[in-house]
């Protein structure tokens, strides 16, 4: 053990196909919850922005969900969705994504300056047109900043699922731990970070492309609803 190097490259070579499978599994289990979370968060966030009375309870519930340890949620889900299934791991991640994204949507809509909204009304936009053509585009930087936080966190949170038998790259942590062998663990950490970084980069590029008018500044400032 004393002579064991941190990384044994030959192990990587031998196990490459399995590693790639884990990467794919991790990507699916991380991204599906973010997409689902976004699809749910958009209407809920819109409702929260329209009706203040709705926002407070919605955020309250989300905060409660957010404070549940994922491990605890897995446990409760196992009898329903089964041990070592993707669903068990993804359900709590959906809730985390929502906890980050609902406030992001509300904040994003709140970031639309009132005079802009008023002038859209004055020009005769119907409420739906106004939402689609004016308010949502202006809210995009803030929503995307939330999406970045949610995505990066989701990629890294999937690995906890390994404790209940299905954790994408997290499997490498369990494997390494059980065999007291650091190489898979290091590989797993590096790949999770790279994966998260790649997803983040794609979202930054998407933001540039979607909102050429927004400065990097506004994006940075709205990332503050930080979650992990």
């Amino acid at each position: 053990m004393a002579e064991e190097p941190l990384v044994r490259w030959d192990w990587i070579g031998r196990n490459w196909p399995e590693i790639l499978e884990l990467v794919a599994d991790n990507v699916v289990m991380a991204l599906v919850p973010v997409v689902v979370g976004l699809l749910v968060a958009l209407p809920l966030g819109l409702a929260g922005a329209r009706w203040r009375w709705f926002y407070q309870p919605a955020v309250g519930v989300m905060n409660v969900v957010y404070s549940l340890p994922s491990l605890a949620v897995f446990i409760v889900l196992i009898p329903i969705t089964g041990l070592a299934t993707r669903t068990t791991v993804m359900v709590p991640l959906v809730f985390y994504a929502m906890a980050v994204l609902i406030p992001a949507v509300v904040d994003g809509l709140a970031s639309v300056p009132d005079h802009v909204r008023q002038s859209a009304v004055a020009m005769g936009f119907t409420p739906l047109r106004r939402l689609l053509a004016v308010e949502l585009p202006i809210a995009v930087p803030v929503v995307l900043a939330g999406l970045r936080v949610a995505t990066v966190s989701s990629v890294s949170l999937v690995s906890v699922g390994a404790l209940v038998g299905r954790g994408g790259l997290g499997y490498l942590f369990i494997d390494g731990w059980q065999r007291q062998f650091p190489t898979p663990i290091v590989v797993g950490i590096v790949l999770v970070v790279l994966l998260a970084g790649a997803a983040d980069l794609l979202l930054v590029l998407a933001q540039r492309w979607l909102t050429p008018w927004a400065s990097a500044r506004t994006a940075a400032r709205s990332g503050r609803r930080g979650a992990a």
């Binding site: 905060n63 409660v64 957010y66 404070s67 549940l68 340890p69 994922s70 491990l71 605890a72 949620v73 446990i75 409760v76 009898p79 709140a110 970045r148 936080v149 990066v152 966190s153 990629v155 890294s156 949170l157 690995s159 906890v160 390994a162 404790l163 209940v164 954790g167 790259l169 997290g170 490498l172 942590f173 369990i174 390494g176 731990w177 007291q180 650091p182 663990i185 290091v186 797993g188 950490i189 999770v192 970070v193 998260a196 970084g197 983040d200 940075a220 400032r221 990332g223 503050r224 930080g226 979650a227 992990a228």
Partner: protein, 223 residues
């Protein structure tokens, strides 16, 4: 429900080295210490970067990088390399987890203070430190507390994984219950962690009410 009664109703759950009080204390130790360490690093750094405007890119990059670090992976790697003699292996990943929200929110809070306010403060003859301490921090406090709250909840929730490498804390019940197929134990542990997290959330709500000036919180409500 029956599981909960089975776990919480059993007097054995409440005593001994594996009793709830001991596990609870261990959990608080992991979470409290790492939050404290993260706070000592991230709050001053966030204040300084927000106040001087130097190193803003560092905040954004490092915060996102730290978010990407998988806690479980870090934990097992560190224990593997360092052994389990101390609680340091738990602290390092938890601190890494807690720093980003504190740093980003503190930075954004200070950064986001109305420039006119800084201007007026300097114009009246406040020195740099006074501007920071008497104006920027009180005005940024809601965001700083939000960052601390987010970090605290994450740390409390994530400290459960410490049990996986043989350390204590409330995660013990979950991991052991899972390993031995004793669901009441696992669910009971999960409920305890969730209750703790909710308590932390409530505490921060209280803290917010006590520490933040009504002039600042009132203004936000109107917004």
């Amino acid at each position: 429900m029956n599981w909960l009664i089975e776990f919480f109703g059993d007097p054995a759950s409440w005593s001994g080295p594996d009793g709830i009080p001991v596990r609870f204390a261990e959990h608080l130790e992991f979470a409290g210490l790492s939050l404290l360490l993260a706070m000592l690093v991230a709050v001053p750094l966030g204040l300084w970067i927000g106040h001087t405007g130097r190193g803003a890119l560092l905040v954004v990059l490092s915060a996102n990088a730290a978010r990407a670090l998988p806690t479980l992976g870090l934990l097992v790697l560190i224990v593997l390399l360092m052994g389990v003699g101390t609680i340091a292996p738990v602290l390092i990943p938890l601190v890494a987890l807690a720093v980003p929200p504190i740093l980003v929110n503190t930075y954004e809070g200070v950064r986001g203070v109305d420039p006119d306010l800084r201007d007026a403060a300097y114009g009246m003859g406040l020195r740099g430190g006074q501007v920071l301490g008497r104006v920027l921090v009180p005005v940024a406090l809601p965001l700083i507390l939000l960052g601390l709250r987010t970090a605290a909840i994450q740390v409390v929730a994530t400290a459960t994984v410490a049990a996986y490498v043989g350390l204590g804390g409330l995660g013990r019940y979950i991991i052991d219950g899972l390993a031995t197929q004793r669901y009441p134990l696992a669910v009971g542990g999960a409920v305890l962690v969730a209750l703790l997290a909710l308590t932390v959330q409530g505490l921060f709500g209280l803290l917010q009410r006590v520490l933040v000036s009504p002039g600042v919180s009132g203004r936000q409500k109107i917004r």
